[in-house]
């Protein structure tokens, strides 16, 4: 709501905060028509859009493409520098340490990628369920109203 209407207690026209005020029946019927044509038409595309946003978000949040790209990089740039004077022992030591750091990097990244993919699939399946539910939603609402009333009235 606009701040001005709150601050200045405007005499708000009746239509503004009313419910079911003098709306002619044919208008309500037309509203229902519009609603159902959206529900069984455009809405699928809309839901699909939002759904894909969330799937995208999972990939984005867990930085999956970046982590794949840098999979074998050492963990947090940790590691030793190779000595300037060749010394086989130190070179080997350094090699092992650096290999270890890369291994740690790979493990952590794989873990995060794994979690990310798990979330993305979860979101994907939830989306599928919602899509399916969406189709039966109106019937579902009517059904729970009936069940609710039955429970209240007859136990």
């Amino acid at each position: 709501m606009c701040l001005s209407t709150i601050l200045f207690e405007k005499k708000i026209p009746t239509w503004y905060n009313s419910i079911y005020m003098n709306v002619p029946r044919e208008k309500l019927i037309s509203l229902l028509e519009h609603y159902f044509s959206w529900h069984y038409g455009q809405a699928y595309r809309d839901i699909y859009g939002v759904w894909m946003n969330f799937v995208w978000f999972c990939f984005h949040f867990f930085s999956i493409s970046e982590l794949l790209g840098s999979l074998f990089q050492p963990w947090k740039r940790m590691g030793e520098e190779y000595p300037r004077v060749p010394d086989l022992k130190i070179i080997l030591q350094t090699f092992v340490v650096n290999l270890l750091m890369r291994f740690v990097g790979v493990m952590v990244r794989l873990l995060v990628i794994g979690i990310g993919l798990a979330f993305a699939s979860l979101v994907f399946f939830i989306g599928l369920i919602i899509m399916a539910l969406w189709t039966v939603m109106p019937i579902f609402i009517v059904a729970i109203i009936i069940i609710g009333l039955a429970l209240i009235l007859h136990g």
């Binding site: 001005s4 208008k27 947090k76 609402i141």
Partner: protein, 829 residues
Amino acid sequence: MDKREKTTIESLSVYPLLVLEQWFPHATRHKFFRTLILSMSFFFMVFAALFFANQNIPAEQNPSTGVFLRLISFTEGVFLLLFSFWTGVFLLESFYRAVYFHNRAYKIRKRQGGSDEDVPYEMSSEVATVFYFMEKDDVIRSFCNSPLGFEILVRCGFLSESVNEFLETRENVLEITLDDMYEARVFDMEDFALFLFHNYPEFAEFLFKKGVGEKDFTGAVRWAVKVDEDSRFKERWWSRDHLKKIGSLGKDFTYGNTYMLDRYAHDITIGGAAPSDKELHWDEEVKRVESALSKAKEANVMLIGDDGVGVLDVVYEFAYRVDSGDVPSHLQNKRLLLVDTNLIVASAKEKGILEERLIKLLNEAAKAGNIILVFDHFTSFVTGARSLGTDAIDIMNPYLSSPLIHIIALAPTEEYHRVLAPNGEMSTRFELVSVKQPEGGRIISLLQDGALLLERRYGVFFTYASIIEILKSAENYITDGVMPDKATDLLMEIAPYMVQKKKTLVEKNDVLEYVRLKTKIPVGEINPEEKDKLKHLEEELHERIVGQHDAIKAVSDAVRRSRAGVRDPKKPIGSFLFLGPTGVGKTETAKALAAVYFNSEDKMARLDMSEYQGEDAMERLIGSFELGKPGTFSMLVKDFPYGVLLLDEFEKTSKEVQNLFLSVLDEGFFSDMGGHRVNVKNIIFIATSNAGSEMMYDSIQHGESLHSVKQLIVDSIIKKGILKPELMNRFDGVILFNPLEKKDIIEVAKIMCENLRKRLKDEHSINLVVNQVIIDELVKEGLDPLNGGRPMARAVKEKIERVIAEKLISGEIQTGMTVELEQADFERK
């Protein structure tokens, strides 16, 4: 006409949205939604409690198992019913949003950088609302009553009473149809409001009566529409733009840790001052920073700008863009670390430690690989390090030239030139980006964003005119600081002031009232007392000045023009050149003006321009950059931003100084030694000079009026090279002061005696009778038409004051006595 029949409200894509709004409006839906969630949670908890209780109590111990089970199914049933309602409302809300955002698709594209042509315009739901709820083809009434229309009118300063009054007293009704809108290509509220403004004169007139012209109306409309759209777009939390802002994991796995840097710096990329819902204000500067940081090496930026211009804001905005991934790929995943330079220098205590620490920090940043170091007040850091004997720039040099590290340094303009610029390497190592004071439009949008925050915090409401007035007042009356800082400061101060005043709507006059309170500059509505004073300014000045009608008239007119707000706001209040011999009242006029109009003689300051003749004149006036010394003139106007400034013996100053005053008088500001603009718009400049006084005498003695020879005198001053013609022309008025005649001088003597009488009475409780003997004595001693009033002032001192002093010391006069001097008193040695 057939076109009219084509477009009906039912054919608009937003039609179902309008019906829904009529039947079950957005606000009510939200209320319902919240209530349903609360009641659902309640019933769910009751249900859960009963269920668990039932599980745990053995049936044989519970005599009323039947009732218990009945209760459980009852709560279960209620819960399911509420849930079905909730789902229903949810579906309607989704429908509403889907229709709304499909309708706004082109705006969304535009926000994401797409062009207008991507998606065709459609009649916006706000305009359609006006037509849908229109009664008896009265489009204006419907506009005023629509939520956004009302918001626009309040932003213009109208409350419902005045709007209702206008609606009831109109003579005509504007009849327009949707087809007219299509024909005029009006689809948005912004265009629609302006369409009404242009096509319904009564409406424009109604606005105009409150001082709202087309420009103000357009501004108010744009602001209201933007606020409305922003709040709608903020609701789109499922969009990628919004989701992106949540951030991400694992991006720093490839980059090193920064243990030491974390102690001496903080990361401004995470949550910093991210202006998440704010308009971005520094696009151009941020783009320059981006491109400078994109270089292969020496990718460093030096941001220079005055304190308060918003240099750090540029960095924050850049950080925000980095955080939201809104930057070129090579800048993504960067961390901006704002280094606490004070801490580094202060905690180091000695050279060795400081250098070691600095090197370690830089190494760490280089190794981490994704760090952009930000040094605020880089110059202070360099000088601080220098005081410990460390050349910070020298240490940083190898890093600055390497591709491993990026540095953004911030410095005030003046300090940059003094401390850093002499080091020639600076300009190669750093790309200079100077942050200029933003111009009007950008400051307005900054102020509007600030105002919205204050509105939520203080429950006040800013009109568009008040925002514009804040901008103007900060520019014109607040001399300290720079834009936009001083404007935002003023904005912040006004909100609590309004709360104190118990007023909600901030109007233009409230801003002026506050400015008046803060600066003591008379702005805003003229009160009756002031009105009276302004009307009779000449008379009041004449009480102190004898003759000189032209001068007094000119000065009074200038003051009235300024106070009425019709003067040129870019120039000083007034500027006059008073020409005339000594002692004719030039200085006295300036003093009298300060006393009468600005309420105190202290409101007059004086610069003896004959002191500024030498080569160092300019340096002494506006300060010296090399010596870092401020100048007399700059200091004076800073302490004294409002009043009369007397420039005595103006002709004696150097040509360079005269040139300085060319711009001072023309533009109302000058640049001091540090390049800072010093505002002198609230000052009346009175320059005095006795150039040309001989000519004045001659002409008076030949019986010519000064009026007739004025041009000749001015020409001769120019010809002699005393003052330049362009300088003479810059003054609002060149005013000749008549040499005083005998009768004038006697009048002056009387005024002086009267002043003396008052002083004696106030300070010593002595009642001096100013009789003819005194006047005669003064005329005898002090009448010297060549030198005007000065000898008379001397005579008052030497004759009368001397006699009274002697009498006071000898005890002849005592407190409370009435004193009448006689001829004999003056004859005593």
